[in-house]
């Protein structure tokens, strides 16, 4: 077990280094002088020199990279070209909004997907199964931002039940937060729910075909016991991975929905950074999200090893 964790840690560290390299190179790929491009019409020599020095763009490439990684390790992701604020602060400010949206979306998705996936596998070929398959096919094919637009049209426009966009912090006013989060979370959660439903269905089906399920049935156990004790315990182990990974990728991935619903999360931050050519913020947000993703993956793999007794052997 310790060896396994160590190996995974090492692997993640290598990948993380690669991620910093990619993120670092992003800035180098900008045609021309990024600071100049960023300043655009707001150009004045003093600001320009200050930014250029602060971002270390006048030094050799390797030195720049090393100092970038060095600073990143201490939590320093540079300063915004636009506001001059530390990037780390900006990203962390946006985290609660994104996190609350992602978690709500995944919770909604689980609420739908777990029962639906299990029932559609156990009653494979039944009406529920067919409905579940239509639902998941619909969910993975529909663009979430289109769902969002249609939802705004219906619930904010026609019915007027919910606000079309905007954000209130959960800590500030939970009720208003909820009224704002429900549409974007549903739009995102629909896709997640579809993916999870399919995954759970196929995972359960796979386990149902295992010999040990027949053994359990041969023992004369009740159907419920067979499903709960023998099937789900095996089938849901991989699902844990997928759920965690979904949360992680939603944190960085809901750009379009955040833009559509004016949700001030990391996705929206990225979008604004792109619009403003604020490259340090873009870099910082991307690096932050990728690191988070790696961390979640690492934790999930370790959790997986804890859940499946066979893995401890390796």
């Amino acid at each position: 077990m310790a060896r396994f964790v160590l190996r995974r840690l090492l692997q993640s560290a290598v990948v993380l280094l690669g991620v910093t390299l990619v993120v670092f190179l992003l800035l180098q790929l900008v045609p021309g002088d990024p600071v100049r491009v960023a300043l655009g019409t707001r150009f004045d020599q003093e600001t320009y020199d200050a930014l250029r020095e602060r971002s270390g763009l006048d030094r050799p490439l390797l030195a720049q990279y090393l100092s970038y990684v060095g600073h990143a390790l201490t939590g320093d992701l540079g300063v915004s070209f636009r506001s001059g604020q530390p990037v780390t602060t900006i990203v962390l400010e946006r985290l609660p909004a994104t996190l609350s949206l992602a978690v709500t979306a995944v919770l909604l998705a689980l609420l739908v997907a777990v029962p639906l996936g299990i029932v559609s596998a156990v009653r494979s070929g039944s009406l529920v199964d067919h409905a579940a398959r239509v639902f998941s096919q619909f969910g993975v094919s529909v663009p979430d931002f289109w769902m969002g637009i249609m939802a705004i049209l219906l619930f904010a426009g026609v019915l007027g039940w919910l606000p079309p966009s905007g954000y209130v912090a959960l800590t500030e006013d939970p009720a208003r937060w909820a009224s704002h989060v429900i549409l974007p979370a549903a739009a995102v959660g629909l896709v997640t729910a579809s993916i999870l439903t399919r995954f759970i269905r196929s995972s359960v089906l796979e386990v149902l075909a295992e010999d040990y399920v027949r053994t359990a049935e041969a023992k004369g156990l009740r159907g419920r016991v067979v499903v709960l004790r023998h099937v789900l315990r095996n089938a849901l182990i991989p699902v844990v991975t997928v759920v965690a990974v979904q949360v992680a990728s939603l944190i960085g991935g809901v750009i379009v929905i955040e833009v559509l619903f004016a949700w001030p999360g990391i996705g929206r931050l990225t979008y604004d950074a792109v619009q403003a050519r604020d490259y340090p913020v873009l870099q910082g947000a991307v690096l932050f999200v990728a690191s988070l993703f790696l961390l979640v993956n690492l934790l999930v793999d370790i959790l997986y090893a804890r859940l499946d007794p066979r893995i401890t052997l390796r």
């Binding site: 010999d211 049935e217 004369g220 156990l221 004790r229």
Partner: protein, 325 residues
């Protein structure tokens, strides 16, 4: 006369497959009594496992099962699925071919042995665990009090099969169904398992249905034997009679096809062709296309009846007298 434990009459199993209906088992009758071992022999696809699984309600969902099955005098086909499930768990134990896959990898061995006792004997978890330790000891697993909490992957193949046997015996069943229990094991481990089952049977008086393709194992374990081919029983009788005077050309061919030290050197009397496809069975005798005797056109079109050639020894052929040795 000893007590009849399981009796099957006119059992037919049809499987719906992607390629059409396959008649896996067609009109099979047999029974097994307490303390006795009944062996079902046949090649792959002969219907030997399917007949037993279907009789006990473990056939796949696509299977259509007809016929009568009596377990301890109770008509299984007439009771509710719940009752059938309870009867099965309480009175029948199963050992399957691959001990690797027939244990759940994420539950401890002890838990899997114990859960039958909780379900059917109303034991508490604590009692069931103690019982599991006893059972593991009974099947010869060393230091059972520790091994009870181990996971299946921590056991060797032979130990796993012992654990499966312990699981099958948990409720002291009247019937043990062993479906190719030694096929996946090495020959020295097979000998251990064969001995173990024989010993337990003697001590517990269990009836055993042993499904196998290995005639050597049959000779060692069985009291009576049925040879299956193409979903039907082609020969059935006391093990001595069947081995000493096999009446069906298929049985004879099977026995002759095994290499025998006495006839080393020469060619083996092989059977041409391959076992039949359950999707496409001949109208008459399924063995006819490969039969060395071949009989006449009647064999191709008409199903030969099971004919008694000696007390309790029946052969499905038109030519019992001429063919019996």
């Amino acid at each position: 006369m000893t007590r009849e434990v399981l009796a099957i009459e006119e059992l037919t199993v049809t499987l719906g497959t992607r390629r059409g209906a396959a008649r896996a088992v067609a009109g099979v009758d047999w029974s097994v009594a307490a303390g006795q071992t009944f062996a079902l022999v046949g090649e792959s696809g002969s219907g030997k496992s399917m007949s037993v699984l279907a009789a006990t309600g473990l056939a796949p969902r696509t299977a259509r099962v007809t016929g009568r099955v009596r377990l301890l005098g109770e008509e299984l086909t007439a009771v509710s699925p719940q009752r059938r499930r309870r009867l099965r768990g309480r009175h029948v134990g199963f050992v399957f071919q691959d001990p690797m896959t027939s244990l759940n990898p994420v539950l401890t061995v002890g838990r899997q042995v114990a859960e039958g006792c909780e379900e059917h004997l109303g034991m508490t978890r604590r009692q069931a665990r103690d019982r599991a330790v006893e059972l593991l000891d009974l099947v010869g697993i060393p230091s059972p009090a520790q091994r009870v909490d181990a996971y299946p992957h921590q056991f060797s193949g032979g130990m796993r099969q012992r654990a499966v046997i312990a699981m099958a015996l948990a409720c002291e069943p009247d019937l043990l169904i062993a479906d190719e229990p030694t096929t996946a094991l090495d020959v020295t481990t097979q000998a251990q398992i064969v001995e173990l089952v024989a010993d337990l049977q003697r001590r517990l008086g269990t009836a055993v249905v042993w499904i196998t393709h290995d005639l050597g194992v049959v000779a060692g374990v069985a009291d009576t034997v049925a040879v299956m081919y193409g979903g039907r029983i082609v020969e059935q009788g006391p093990v001595d009679a069947v081995f000493a005077a096999p009446g069906h050309p298929y049985t004879r061919a099977l026995l002759a096809a095994r290499p025998d030290p006495a006839h080393a050197g020469g060619d083996l009397p092989a059977i041409d062709g391959s076992p039949p496809n359950p999707l496409d069975l001949p109208a008459g005798c399924a063995f006819w296309p490969r039969c060395p005797v071949r009989g006449d056109a009647r064999c191709a079109d008409e199903l030969p009846p099971l004919t008694e050639v000696a007390p309790g020894h029946r052969v499905r052929t038109f030519y019992p007298a001429r063919e019996a040795r």
